[in-house]
Symmetry: C2
């Protein structure tokens, strides 16, 4: 597939489009206008048309978008059909939560194994995923090309583990450690998961609502 340089903001919106299209499919909707899609996502129709135009033409004037076709295109753009390999490092609470509840295969990832240092975990399986010793990580990486390492280790060891992953050719790190891993010259891609971003947006909306309520009460008071 030929790729144009796409802005980061557009790339960040693609997974949201995908979720919305899945929801539409679940509701039996097979066609949608950019106006309606925009309404449902809080974006303008022209924004949506512009986003999709980065990747070619999906819609048809006066007809709208074909939901399954658009869904398939976005999935391809996101690489869902590539069968990327993943390993998880650190089977603590967050690691277990992901192995238990997050459906890697739904998003095209194959979670091959996990690594930990706790003797009681090593050699066992969690939700069908084998857990190996951290001592065997380097050997594993040398024998198996890994696309994405899910980093769920304690923050004290985040940098050391990252160095091991980078030195052994792991393509990308999905970082849950809250430690900033972005080395300017590192060949490893890093995607940080920041829970706080989502909580702070919620905090904004709660603040806004409370302010509105207070303003309304003040107006009533005045009358």
């Amino acid at each position: 597939m030929k790729r144009l340089k796409v802005s980061n903001n557009v790339i960040r919106r693609l997974p949201r489009y995908l979720r919305k299209l899945d929801e539409l499919t679940d509701n039996g909707i097979s066609r949608i206008s950019s106006f309606e899609l925009g309404q449902q996502l809080g974006l303008t129709p022209s924004q949506i048309r512009q986003d999709f135009s980065c990747f070619g033409e999906f819609g048809q004037q006066g007809y709208g978008y074909n939901v399954p076709a658009l869904r398939a295109q976005i999935a391809t753009i996101l690489g869902i059909d590539r069968g990327f390999s993943a390993v998880l490092i650190g089977v603590g609470n967050i690691g277990k939560a992901l192995m238990d509840n997050f459906c890697f295969s739904e998003w095209g990832f194959r979670l091959d194994c996990a690594f930990d240092i706790k003797p009681e975990l090593i050699g066992t399986q969690f939700n069908g995923v084998p857990i190996y010793s951290m001592d065997d990580l380097v050997k594993y990486l040398q024998e198996h090309p890994v696309d994405v390492a899910v980093l769920t280790v304690p923050k004290e060891v985040a940098v050391a583990v990252t160095n091991t992953l980078t030195e052994n050719g792991v393509e990308a790190i999905w970082n849950f450690t809250n430690v900033e891993l972005t080395e300017p010259n590192s060949p490893t891609l890093v995607e940080n998961v920041h829970f706080s971003d989502s909580l702070l947006s919620l905090s904004y909306f709660v603040s806004e609502r409370k302010d509105e309520r207070a303003a309304k009460a003040a107006r009533v008071e005045k009358q």
Copy 2:
């Protein structure tokens, strides 16, 4: 504080600005231009100026932004200084991970307690947070106004618990259950945490890099 209607996209960028400003502060940087800030965040300077103009004037022509002042303003806009109350529902893996690693107080939230159904957890504390029985949830909510409920229950009970929270006046739900809770007429705000969004963006970047590498190899082949 007077509020203008601010677009969702701007609100979503505010937490990223905050993190960046914290990082700058940690590095001893107290002043930054919109150009430099844009470079570091992958946004245009005009985008940044436009975002901040929604809330008033922060910068000064030819001087740039005062980092601590801008940080303080954004924190206020996000409601970090409001002391919102939070409770966590469901002390499973993801619940424990949040109670263990996520610093609620850093973002202005007070995590007062958690609720679960497991007898061995009820009456204990986890990381200083008391765990109560789900049977006492309604009584608790009636006696304590709760701003945000962190929803980390199994997905089978997500909707039932949400109804209880809504009926008992919880302002907002921070939803980790992967269940779509947005009822059109519900007075409760819902913020969904979608791990997949972040993984799929990473998937895009890995795909892009592999394509570039393949294209380069093909060009070398041809020569």
